[in-house]
């Protein structure tokens, strides 16, 4: 009995500690590290490299925020989450932010009480099949066995797609992406479906990528972006504008190479405001003037991050497409820094 009383007291203490987390910025600065939720591993987006250091497109957002807030892009504690655990981890305060190819939807934003701070990748759901299956369109998939990660928007889109096209399928629900890929490679399912970026990323790691094709259909809109808890607007602003700083930096031609030179002051007032040589934008966020400069120096501007992790030069080989700057015909459009 004594033991359970002690355990009870510990639980009580734990919950009390969890409750007092309104000012996330203070917590992060006091802790000295940023707890950032990522996937359990999607090549190019978030995956530990051979040395165990997390690398990837989503990871870069975490590092940029850590650099802006703590001045150190390595001061990040990466918390791998599955599709199922990610929201609980964020809501309970286990992580300060989630950067984990999570789709911005109405119910997540409104009902689950999260705040999406922007979009770092415009995606859509697609289907991958073995090339020798002879399927060229998703409309031919009547009766197919489909591997799918549970607890994702893709699961709902899949049901809607097959229902609206009046064809049947056999869902094989799988907990993690890597497991689904294994089953797909073993032929336990005919089709693997998830966001097209993740399909491309995983296909790149197959022994012979050319044996598999991604079908042309895009069956949904999947705006992926980082999110934070509802209710701490100051922290939400920091994450939102860090992402915007990365996007704006690309638009204004600020790269990790020329940033030190530009920080001294330029004749473009927006660059000056972004890099802190003019105005007090950083102070408004509760940070210092060089916050955006540090964020951009962490892994480069948006374009550099894209090219280094998932761009055409990498083995993931994604084209910019929708994720090009608005000036280049894409959807990336950051509100102005003024």
């Amino acid at each position: 009995m004594k033991k359970s009383v002690i355990l009870g007291a510990l639980t009580v203490a734990g919950m009390a500690a969890g409750a007092a987390s309104a000012a996330t910025l203070d917590d992060v600065q006091a802790r000295g590290t940023l707890n950032c939720g990522v996937t359990t591993g999607v090549p190019g987006f978030a995956e530990p490299d051979a040395d165990g250091v997390w690398q990837g497109f989503d990871v870069a957002v975490c590092r940029a925020v850590a650099a802006a807030v703590l001045g150190d892009p390595t001061a990040v504690e990466f918390v791998p989450t599955t599709g199922k655990t990610r929201f609980t981890a964020l809501a309970s305060g286990e992580i300060d932010m989630l950067a984990r190819n999570t789709t911005w939807t109405f119910s997540r934003d409104v009902d689950l009480k999260f705040e999406f701070t922007g979009v770092n990748y415009y995606d859509g759901q697609g289907f991958m099949v073995p090339a020798d299956l002879g399927v060229t369109s998703a409309a031919d998939l009547d009766g197919a066995t489909v591997c799918i990660q549970t607890g994702t928007t893709t699961e709902l889109n899949l049901a809607d797609f097959f229902r609206s096209n009046n064809i049947s399928y056999e869902p094989v629900p799988i907990e993690t992406g890597s497991e689904a890929v294994q089953l797909f490679l073993a032929g336990s399912c005919d089709v693997y479906t998830t966001d097209r970026s993740a399909l491309a990323a995983q296909r790149a790691n197959f022994p012979t990528p050319s044996d598999y094709i991604v079908l042309p259909e895009v069956v949904s809109k999947e705006p992926l972006g980082p999110l934070v808890r509802h209710g701490d607007n100051d922290w939400g602003d920091i994450v939102r504008w860090t992402l915007n700083a990365l996007i704006t930096a690309e638009e204004l031609g600020v790269t990790s190479e020329n940033i030190e030179e530009l920080a001294a002051g330029t004749d473009n007032p927006e660059v000056n405001r972004l890099l802190g040589s003019e105005g007090t934008l950083g102070e408004m966020l509760g940070l210092d003037g060089q916050w955006a400069m540090r964020a951009i120096m962490a892994e480069g501007n948006y374009g550099e991050i894209f090219d280094n992790n998932i761009g055409e030069a990498t083995n993931i080989g994604l084209a910019r497409g929708l994720n090009a700057q608005w000036t280049d015909g894409g959807l990336l459009y950051s509100p102005p820094f003024r």
Binding site: M1, V5, A16, T150, R163, E170, D190
Partner: protein
Amino acid sequence: MSTISEERLDSGHGGAPSGFKLGMLLNDTRYRSYTFQFIALVLLILSISYLVSNLIANLEEAGLNISWAFLAEPAGYDINQRPIEYDSQSTHARASIVGAINTLIVAFLACVTATILGVVAGVLRLSNNWIVARLMSVYVEAFRNVPVLIWILIIFLAMSNAFPQPRAFRGEAPDAEMWLGLFAFTNRGVYAPSFINGAGSTIFWIVCVLSIVGVFAYRRYAKKLLYDTGRLLPMGWPSLAILIVPPVLAFFLLGSPVSLETPELRGFNFQGGVHLRLSLIALWFALAIYTGAFIAENVRAGIMAISKGQTEAAGALGLRPGRIMNLVILPQALRVIIPPLISQYLNITKNSSLAIAVGYMDITGTLGGITLNQTGRAIEAILLLMLFYLLVSLAISAIMNVYNNSVKLKER
């Protein structure tokens, strides 16, 4: 002097109610345990109410609330194994029920299989045959000491890689062929033939059920005759005859009312027949083999609890070893075996929640998985899950205890 001490003795002995003092709550062994239990209870209630009020305050602060409305909303996702009517437009409540039935299906299958495996392995481990006994020891020790999740994954991955894909069955000279032309073993599970009921099939099925009942009635009668008169009727062939002859007769008299539908490869998969999904098979086998090892140990303990003299006495009467086990040892061992067996059944039911590892859509996968994730109603979903497992466990426990009372030692 003497009178005073006698008075003291008297009051100390008989006058407990009248001489009750508050201090006795701590000092008197008769009350002390109650005192501590009461204090513990109060502390427990206080801490639970603190946790609950804390939870409510936290939820309120986050702008969340407790609501069950999500259960009536459309689920939006599909489930592959549907024992009842279900599609993606059905409600979350219905999805939970589908999951609950799936849990019960796999738990029932695993309980039956584990019991058979356990009894066989437990008896054989005590066999005089050295090789058989050692083999059973290896089975029991290997399976008991590796976590069940590992076994689930091993069986699942082994089967998904060992068996051919459905398309291997295609073409003029296929890489794989159906077993007996009826069963297809693929890495998506086993496709087996199913029955198609034609006219008069109801009568046929009734005959089948009646013949099974008949077998039990015959054996009961034979047992009674044996106990009453000592005459031993043959058991084996009459049982078999009662089981087989009437259905076969009925089948032909009614003009073959029931036919088999064999699975056929159409499109991507086999169509028709029954589809035992890989996830169900893996979960079922893993739970059965794993828990079977524990049951084997219970059975062994039960048998070893029976004095060796019983075996020797039965042997002295001229009974053969098989009969000694069935008529003398096992009936007595049951009263040792049943109570731990109940916990093993509970373990199977609870361990079936590991189904998500292989994507079997049990209640943890639907209500506690996808529904929880899509609606974000974690507290509500988990409470419902707890309630479900609690009810199922208590039900199993109650039923098994009724059985236990019927086999336990009756003292008259």
